[in-house]
């Protein structure tokens, strides 16, 4: 009893922090979203979001593409990491985390110089008489930037989930008649589900709300929700009310995504318990 009481008090500073910096701003956003410039209640801002549905759709699509690519790339990496011996696992994890020690902007700048018309890749291809390819300022470049930046967030939870799968369980599957593909679909993927759910959330949420990647690699034609919101607060089309409404819409999208993946996760836990 004593412990639970003290631990409740120990959480107080954090609760205060949450109240001031999360709950209050949230209400401010909601308030702005539901009022006009003069402060009167209106649903006009929310209705106006419909005009930008193509931007929302593009954001969702590109983020989904990046998430799927991260999952496809990250799953085998997480699996092989989890099968390594403990000391090798730590070295490989370090190597995977290494790019994350560099500044996010810097990493994305690096891709700009690589993908440019006169960039490194095009020069290299030029040596073989190919190109120059049009890579920068495309949707593909944006997805590439997302995958590059968020892949570690997919690998880590997958790796963590798969370290809990004993070799003998995989062998049991093979013993009972699973070839490699069946082992994957019947045993590995079901057991890695919690990691898959976490990985999807950790990649999709930042990807759907990014504005730096799209601005640096996507040019003007690949505007995402994040860019749109930034424009309302800091850009030419200054409009706090519309910006707040868009933020609110983005939050709802993120919440839906998280509740979807966590329901997926809980279902899994029931099977385990």
């Amino acid at each position: 009893m004593l412990r639970s009481k003290t631990s409740r008090w120990a959480a107080a500073p954090y609760l205060l922090w949450m109240a001031i910096f999360i709950v209050v701003p949230l209400f401010i956003v909601i308030w702005y979203a539901l009022t006009d410039a003069s402060g009167a209640f209106t649903l006009q801002n929310l209705a106006e979001i419909g005009r930008y549905s193509s931007v929302f759709a593009r954001s969702l699509l590109l983020a989904a593409e990046a998430t799927v690519i991260c999952l496809v790339l990250g799953f085998p990496v997480g699996y092989f990491l989890s099968r390594l011996r403990a000391n090798k696992q730590h070295i490989m994890l370090m190597l995977i985390m290494l790019p994350m020690w560099m500044n996010f902007l810097l990493r994305t700048y690096a891709w700009m110089t690589l993908l440019e018309k006169n960039g490194l890749i095009n020069k290299l291809l030029g040596l073989f008489g190919i190109g120059p390819l049009n890579m920068i300022n495309t949707a593909g470049a944006v997805v590439l930037g997302m995958v590059y930046n968020y892949l570690p967030y997919m690998i880590l939870p997958l790796y963590t989930a798969m370290t809990k799968i004993d070799d003998s369980i995989i062998e049991a599957a093979q013993d009972l008649g699973c070839n490699t593909f069946r082992t994957l679909t019947r045993v590995l993927i079901p057991l890695a589900k919690p990691g898959i759910a976490t990985g999807i959330t950790m990649v999709f949420v930042p990807a759907v709300s990014t504005f730096i990647i799209s601005r640096m690699l996507g040019g003007g034609s690949n505007l995402l929700i994040g860019d749109l919101i930034e424009l309302q607060f800091l850009g030419n089309s200054y409009n706090l009310n519309l910006g707040s409404a868009m933020s609110l819409a983005l939050m709802v999208i993120v919440l839906l995504c998280m509740s979807f993946t966590s329901s997926f996760d809980e279902e899994e836990m029931e099977g385990v318990m």
Partner: protein, 348 residues
């Protein structure tokens, strides 16, 4: 080819990290036999089992199944199933689905699958547990699921790697009998791994004693116990007294300063040998009539018998007897010809 052979290992060599784990191992396993690999931890029992299951491809040598070479065949194509040391049940599936796993892979229709799984659960004593999660089961129950999960596929050969190792003694004895019954009723070949000599002797038709990646002896439990081929086996299989002796001539061996008649022959005159006498084969008699005399050091009550440590000319003998002597007492000891086992001293 011998019709009854089901698995043959021929000159199997397995190295791990440059270290030889199986050293040219050859073995024939007969159909419907209960074979046990017995040996100390690390001698290569699990490795041998994994070669049969297909999880390890040997560096050299071949594995034959029904006379066909299956050395390179992946595990999922072999008519062999394994019960793993740590059970290795699927944590995301309930008991029913664990057992149904192999049949579902074979795309067996539900109306055939269901009764088969239920029947197998009944055979292993888990009727009514179908919907339980794996973590709601005790160790013994998990082991039964693992056994049912393998057996439901009707493998020709079932491989079991120390399946009872994690269970307490009482449950282990129960499961030993049950496994033996299952093997007899289902009429399939069991290849069983254990480091527990008692388990090996009670359950098996054939015991394969292994040490350091080699087979030491293959035989019935009686053969192994009564006629160990070397000191390692004699030591490993139960307690025994091993002393140096001289084979004076056929049917006569000399040790501890006394000549004993025995049933062994074929050694050279006066060949140095080792003599094995089981602790329960020494009869205690009055000192005046004994072939040997000894000084009783310790007497320990073991339930069914007394375990006595007796000093005979400076060497300690172990004797099991139903009648107790007193520590400090001088006793006479007789050993009958049938109870003396002679081992050649070469290669020891």
């Amino acid at each position: 080819m011998d019709e009854s052979l089901i698995v043959s290992l021929k000159d199997i060599v397995v190295d791990f990290d440059g270290e030889r784990v199986l050293n040219g191992l050859s073995l024939d396993i007969h159909d419907k036999e209960f074979v046990t690999f017995l040996g100390p931890s690390g001698c290569g029992k699990t490795t041998t089992l994994r070669v049969i299951a297909g999880f390890i491809t040997p560096q050299s040598g071949s594995v034959l199944f029904d006379g066909k070479d299956i050395t390179g065949l992946p595990p999922y194509k072999r008519q062999v199933n394994t019960v793993f040391q740590k059970y290795a049940l699927f944590p995301h599936l309930n008991v029913f689905e664990n057992v149904a796993f192999g049949l579902r892979l074979k795309k067996m229709p539900e109306e055939q699958l269901r009764p088969k799984v239920l029947e197998m659960l009944e055979i292993v004593g888990l009727k009514g547990f179908e919907r339980r999660g794996i973590h709601q089961l005790s160790g013994g129950q998990q082991q039964r699921v693992a056994i049912a999960r393998s057996l439901v596929n009707q493998p020709r050969v079932l491989l079991l790697d120390e399946p009872l190792g994690a269970l307490d003694l009482k449950l282990r004895k129960e499961m030993q009998l049950e496994l033996k019954r299952l093997q007899r009723e289902l009429n399939i070949t069991f290849v069983y791994v254990t480091h527990d000599q008692e388990e090996a002797l009670t359950m098996s038709d054939t015991v394969v004693v292994m040490n350091k990646g080699n087979i030491q002896q293959i035989g019935s439990p009686q053969d192994i116990y009564n006629e160990p081929q070397n000191a390692f086996i004699a030591n490993f299989i139960g307690d025994s007294n091993i002393v140096d002796g001289i084979m004076v001539k056929d049917f006569l061996v000399s040790f501890c300063g006394h000549d004993f008649s025995c049933v062994d022959r074929g050694f050279a005159y006066n060949e140095p040998v080792q003599v094995v006498v089981r602790p329960e084969d020494v009869a205690i008699v009055p000192p005046s009539t004994g072939m040997l005399t000894g000084l009783v050091r310790d007497v320990i009550f073991k339930g069914v018998h007394f375990e006595m440590h007796v000093d005979v000319e400076g060497k300690e003998w172990l004797i099991h007897s139903t009648q107790a002597s007193q520590p400090g007492e001088i006793i006479g000891m007789n050993i009958g010809p049938d109870e003396i086992h002679i081992m050649s001293r070469e290669g020891v």
